[in-house]
Point group: C2
Chain length 324, copies 2
């Protein structure tokens, strides 16, 4: 994403005067994140990311995200750590926007994750869940089952325009997933990332080096986060299809279980959770797709990638179908 809100050298210097992280050496607007303005910030004390939150982010939710990252970093989980200013608070204001400075995280996001990276990611996701186990704040998942139904209302024709007959298939998916969806009390709940795509995971070679972008994090079923990751990491996208890669998926699940073993009920729920996770990303992409005028600055992600995944999920019945 382009830089939305510029920050002048004088504004930056005045802002950094509130911190104990030295004097500025470099500031570069970076194309990271879709919702916010992000800068690579270097000071005499080290490397950081400076984020200015733009209008789509709810300011009231920022303390949750900041405290979550502080909690995870304090537990040794590798993520951007929000830096408190001298007065003890990390969430501040710059150029008329809420702003935060976090530590810089080394690593590259994989374009096409290797099987070894899926291994590492599975273990990393379980480490995230374990590190967050004693995080006390809660945030409901605003993009859960009810939201999918709401997002689909009035968009069946838009789905048909993407692929004839897709609207009816999605309507059936919604019913099938709702009928089998686990009750919140039936499976382990906790803090989930909820958007752990390859874009948001860093590696040095095949070694997992951390996670960024916690702005969908919420309190939900832990196994649902694993199911999101299966959708994001274990499909091979082709022209008009997505092929589930049971080797990658199986390795991701197995690696997760080396840190946090799944209960039998979680394991049994994996197919419906994975089916629902694909619906969640299909629905938000469909909404963005229909809301974005042709020729707009931001090109929305194609919902069909998730329609293709849904084909697999409709036919998958057991955890073994996912390589578990």
């Amino acid at each position: 994403m382009a830089v939305y809100t510029p920050v002048s050298d004088a504004e930056l210097e005045a802002f950094l005067d509130q911190y104990d992280i030295g004097a500025p050496i470099a500031l570069k607007g970076i194309a990271e994140g879709v919702e916010n303005t992000n800068f690579y910030l270097e000071t005499t004390a080290g490397r950081f990311i400076l984020t200015l939150f733009e209008r789509r982010v709810a300011v009231s939710e920022l303390p949750y995200f900041i405290q979550l990252k502080q909690h995870l970093a304090a537990r040794g989980f590798s993520c951007p750590r929000p830096i408190a200013a001298r007065d003890g608070t990390a969430l501040r204001s710059l150029s008329g926007r809420p702003a935060v400075i976090v530590t810089f995280l080394d690593g590259l996001s994989p374009r096409a994750p290797t099987a070894a990276q899926c291994d590492a990611l599975g273990a990393g996701l379980a480490q995230l869940h374990s590190a967050a186990a004693d995080f006390s704040l809660q945030r409901p998942n605003t993009l859960g089952l009810a939201a999918w139904q709401r997002l689909f209302a009035g968009r069946a024709e838009a789905a048909d325009a993407l692929q004839p007959g897709l609207g009816a298939l999605i309507a059936r998916d919604l019913v099938a997933v709702a009928e089998r969806w686990p009750r919140l009390t039936s499976l382990p709940r906790g803090t989930i990332h909820a958007d752990l795509f390859p874009d948001n995971a860093f590696f040095l070679g095949d070694a997992f080096s951390g996670v960024i972008d916690f702005y969908f994090a919420c309190t939900d079923l832990l196994a649902y986060d694993l199911a999101i990751s299966l959708n994001a990491w274990a499909f091979d996208d082709q022209q008009d299809a997505a092929v589930y890669n049971a080797d990658k998926g199986g390795r991701l699940i197995a690696a997760y279980e080396t840190v946090r073993p799944l209960s039998p009920a979680e394991r049994a729920a994996l197919p419906v959770l994975a089916h629902g996770a694909a619906l969640r990303f299909f629905m938000t992409r469909l909404a963005d797709w229909t809301a974005t005028p042709a020729g707009a600055l931001v090109r929305p992600k194609n919902p069909l990638e998730y329609a293709h995944r849904l084909v697999f999920h409709r036919g998958a019945a057991t955890p073994e179908d996912y390589g578990a």
Copy 2:
């Protein structure tokens, strides 16, 4: 500018295998430069900028720019130094684009340059001219007087649309400047930056730390580069006017002369050179302005900033009017 051409982790690793600068640690698309894709690149050996040249740049001219930066860096002038790969060449190919890795330059660009920064910039510009004195390659200035006349052809009405009567004033400026413009052989010539705006100069506090973006560099009158800098650094922009700041301008010229004193002929030519420099930026901005559809991705710079500077130049007759 947003990232135009993406580079995957695998492409980057294969690309860096050609160099002796270690393994990649981080790659972030940065919003710098208007014509190219730029990345902040960190490796186990240090910090760099990776540039991919997009279509607007003439590939045949890239060796000039690369060799100029190598020459300046070898003379101790602070600018991005192109890194040669193991085979000795710095200009390579990545993701189907000409590509180069340069060293990372510390510093911040000033939004509103201070008088002390104008001092430092003046000396820095003269150091650039001195360091380039024995650079053997030549490149004609493709945005000189003939180009201004060509750019203005058919655009008088566009100028009038910006400000009633502006078209006729600009036509008179072109004649007045052409009549007084120094012959190329009459003043010292050499390699000039030709675009040394605050965006392209870095400072640490008030100390000059280097220059970037040499893609307008060419062979022309050295004093014309100083005249461009007076336009870029020594005006205070107001709502409907630009006020020449003779303190800043005078300091910039005086600081330049501490490194490379002006000849009497150069000094006498300053008013017409500054007048012409304002025409050059007015003309290219006017062309971009009229060529850019409303609501386009890139918002062009307002030509009126330079129409406002022209008001001053029309009334200025002597070097003293510029603080010299």
